[in-house]
């Protein structure tokens, strides 16, 4: 009765898309207006923390090898850490902006986990391609949250950060169980479906 792995990816893509849209709105209207309603200030950090929490059952029920388990576990940990730190900052329990370094840390750990746990080459199948693409994307764009620690009011950096999150959701939506990528599908991957 468990959903297929790709469906879990699509559900997470939806959550990540929502976080990205919230970040984009915050970048457009500014922190002051965004935080005018108390519930809104907790919205995207709470969602990020919840997504980290939900990665634990994904790790338990959907991973079929140790390396997959470690990768999903590390995503769960760093997402909960970054989301939790952001919750602490917006609530006022944490004060040092250096807590926002948890975001670039989360991105670098996530990216490395994506690349390390994908055993196949880029054009083996769509999922392999997306693992490599997501991994390198996370590592490259960790620069946005890193620079935001020192320039938190930069609209360009905030917008870039939000758009990067939205692009991650698009990549996750593109995931299929066994499917070709740009016409390439290794015979070892199995027969395509869906």
């Amino acid at each position: 009765m468990l959903p297929h792995a790709e469906m879990v990816h699509w559900l997470f893509a939806t959550g990540i898309l929502f976080v990205g849209l919230c970040l984009l709105c915050e970048a457009i209207v500014g922190e002051e207006v965004w935080r005018k309603r108390p519930w809104r200030r907790y919205l995207w950090p709470g969602l990020a923390f919840s997504l980290g929490l939900l990665l634990w059952p994904v790790m338990a029920f959907f991973t079929n090898s140790s390396i997959h388990m470690y990768a999903h576990g590390s995503w769960a940990e760093v997402l909960m850490l970054a989301g939790g730190a952001e919750l602490g900052l917006v609530h006022g329990r944490l004060h040092s902006p250096l807590w926002r370094l948890t975001w670039p840390l989360a991105f670098v750990v996530s990216g490395t986990a994506f690349i390390v746990h994908e055993q196949n080459s880029w054009f083996f199948a769509r999922s392999a391609f997306l693992h490599h693409l997501l991994g390198w994307t996370f590592i490259a764009v960790a620069l946005f949250p890193l620079l935001l620690v020192w320039r938190p009011q930069s609209v360009a950096l905030r917008t870039g950060f939000a758009l990067m999150i939205v692009s991650v959701s698009v990549m996750l939506y593109a995931d299929r169980d066994v499917a070709p990528v740009f016409g390439h599908l290794s015979p070892l991957a199995g027969s395509p479906h869906r």
Binding site: L21, C22, C25, V29, W34, R37, R40
Partner: protein
């Protein structure tokens, strides 16, 4: 000669741009999902439900995108727009 209106114009233009951007975000996402559904109708298992399981009927990516756009518009964008306009009115 300077008039208060001439001082407000750039600020008004910026506000209009922000209001437009926020109000278009959700509908644009929903429209993206709709276009995806039209381009890949085979992904919509609701259109050919025979033999489909619970999850395949429930989790359809284009519909998830449309739902995200609608939920975002209703829950986030609309209250945000009223706050944005309220703040602008207070600033005047």
């Amino acid at each position: 000669m300077e008039h208060p209106l001439t001082h407000r114009l750039p600020a008004d233009a910026a506000l209009t741009t922000r209001v437009r951007a926020v109000s278009l975000l959700g509908p644009a996402v929903a429209a993206g999902g709709l276009v995806w559904a039209i381009l890949q109708p085979d992904r919509l298992t609701l259109l050919h439900p025979r033999g489909q399981g619970f999850w395949w009927l429930l989790i359809e990516p284009p519909l998830l995108v449309v739902a995200a756009g609608i939920v975002f518009t209703l829950l986030v964008a609309r209250p945000l727009l009223s706050d944005l306009e309220e703040r602008d009115a207070a600033a005047r």
